[in-house]
């Protein structure tokens, strides 16, 4: 291909992309969700869209601090749901939310291990044994903060092999077999099917994560209200989330 044709093709490709970026219809809603909601948000969307022909929901799933930074930078989100209180409090303080954040679900931590638990991990203290490859989420995402808090409560000190950028990356490392264990949410173990095993963390050491949701624009209210409604709550219970 000549250079000129290559450039022409690149320009044509760009031109084709432009209309896709602009022009959001009134019925398109963008939901920013924490990584640990990766499994359940598509189900909530499906349930919400039932009987709402013509509406559309776009999901943006990432680590909570990334979502917050994007919203602060003006990303076009209509609803935001995170696994902590502080992130939405910060957005609220900056007057970026439409109404106060509401707790819509709770979650607990579990230890994700290889299927069949070949390293016989029974509790948090077992994560400190040498030769075990353990990964957490980085402490800047809620899952990482909770993991650090749980280890603190259990008076266990673990040297992680990696601090992953969100909780789904922790699950992935255990699924791939690169890590022997990781600290994740109970719902992550459930969502992974049989690809990881779950080891419960003693209630005295465990942490309860309060998930909060808030509308950012008036357009986002309907989805927020749906998540809080009995229908939305049913979907969350089915995925293993605890009631608010």
């Amino acid at each position: 291909m000549s250079a000129r044709r290559a450039i022409a093709a690149a320009v044509a490709a760009l031109a084709a992309l432009v209309p896709a970026c602009g022009g959001r219809s009134a019925h398109a809603v963008t939901v920013f969700g924490a990584a640990s909601l990766t499994g359940v948000l598509p189900e909530l969307r499906q349930e919400f869209l039932r009987g709402r022909a013509g509406e559309r929901i776009t999901l943006d799933l990432a680590g909570t601090p990334q979502l917050v930074a994007q919203i602060e930078a003006g990303a076009p989100a209509d609803v935001v749901a995170t696994a902590d209180e502080a992130s939405l409090a910060e957005l609220r303080a900056r007057r970026l939310l439409d109404g106060p954040p509401v707790v819509f679900a709770r979650n607990r931590l579990a230890i994700a291990v290889r299927p069949g638990n070949p390293r016989h991990i029974r509790d948090l203290a077992d994560l400190a044994q040498s030769g075990l490859v353990v990964v957490f989420a980085d402490a800047r995402v809620p899952a990482g903060k909770y993991a650090a808090a749980a280890l603190g409560r259990a008076h266990v000190s673990v040297h992680p092999a990696s601090l992953e950028q969100d909780v789904k990356a922790v699950v992935a490392k255990v699924v791939l077999g690169e890590a022997d264990a990781g600290i994740v949410y109970v719902t992550d173990v459930r969502a992974a099917g049989g690809k990881v095993g779950g080891v419960a963390i003693a209630a005295s050491d465990n942490v309860v994560a309060g998930y909060r949701i808030a509308a950012i624009t008036a357009r986002g209210r309907a989805f927020r209200d749906f998540v809080l409604s009995p229908d939305g709550q049913r979907v969350l219970r089915r995925a293993g989330f605890l009631s608010p």
């Binding site: 320009v11 601090p65 990334q66 917050v68 930074a69 490859v133 990964v135 980085d138 800047r140 992680p160 092999a161 990696s162 601090l163 992953e164 950028q165 490392k173 791939l176 077999g177 690169e178």
Partner: protein, 258 residues
């Protein structure tokens, strides 16, 4: 040379320049200039900086050791499947780095193709500094192959032929004739490779993970710091931009012969 370009070219060209320049302007005007030195002197930043220098230089060395012979074979030996091998050698340039990282896990990870052998040798790559070097080498080696092969093809073959006629063995010819003549191309390829390795993010975080002091290189530190300490992230970004500019300035004659 034309003095006045037609409007139909000048306008998009101008837009193109603005498009490329504005992000840099944004970075520079948001930079906490008074605190840049302070930010770059912090323990975390120096740790990431040191790690980045070590891993990117090691990756460049590895890429030269593997890439130069590969380029020589591609340029000097004709064999079936050469086009395929060349495509393979350049693939990492167009492959999304995260995909490269996943592929590396499936090859060299604990459960990967060579995982068992590596474990038997006591080698673990994921979550280690060596793993970060492997990820950077995978992504950056094509620049060495590309520049070196182009250099080999533009060499006058008569020097090598003359040496061979005078009785030099092929390895001798390569070492004492080809390699010195190749030095400028190889230097340019190595410099581009180093700059690419220094900026590597996707393959590294996927394959080697993120642990300060062990696998958290500068681009990972920028990403991690972006939300919690934006000033630190911007200071680190400026440093990476400065390094890239220096590499391009040093290579300007190689890349754009006047």
């Amino acid at each position: 040379m034309t003095r006045r370009p037609p409007l139909a070219l000048a306008v998009p060209a101008g837009l193109g320049v603005m498009f490329l320049a504005l992000p840099l302007v944004g970075l520079v005007q948001r930079a906490p200039w008074a605190a840049v030195g302070h930010q770059l002197a912090s323990h975390e930043v120096r740790q990431a900086l040191r790690l980045s220098l070590v891993t990117s230089l090691a990756a460049t060395a590895l890429a030269v050791v593997l890439g130069v012979p590969l380029a020589w074979v591609l340029a000097r030996v004709s064999f079936r499947g050469r086009a395929l091998v060349r495509a393979l050698a350049l693939l990492p340039i167009v492959l999304p780095p995260v995909v490269g990282g996943v592929a590396l896990l499936l090859a060299f990870g604990r459960r990967g193709l060579l995982g068992g052998w590596l474990a038997a040798l006591g080698v673990r790559l994921p979550f280690t500094t060596a793993g970060a070097v492997v990820a950077e080498t995978f992504v950056a080696m094509p620049f060495v192959v590309l520049a070196t092969e182009a250099g080999l093809r533009s060499l006058d073959p008569r020097y090598e032929e003359a040496a061979a006629t005078l009785g030099a063995r092929p390895w001798s010819v390569f070492r004492r004739v080809t390699l010195p003549l190749l030095a400028p191309s190889l230097g340019a390829g190595a410099a581009l490779c180093w700059a690419r390795a220094l900026g590597e993010f996707g393959a590294t975080i996927t394959f080697a993970g993120n642990l300060p002091g062990r696998t958290q290189t500068m681009p990972l530190a920028v990403y991690v710091a972006l939300e919690s300490q934006p000033d630190g992230a911007i200071a680190l970004s400026l440093l990476l931009v400065a390094v890239s500019v220096v590499v391009l300035v040093l290579l300007r004659r190689r890349l754009f012969p006047a």
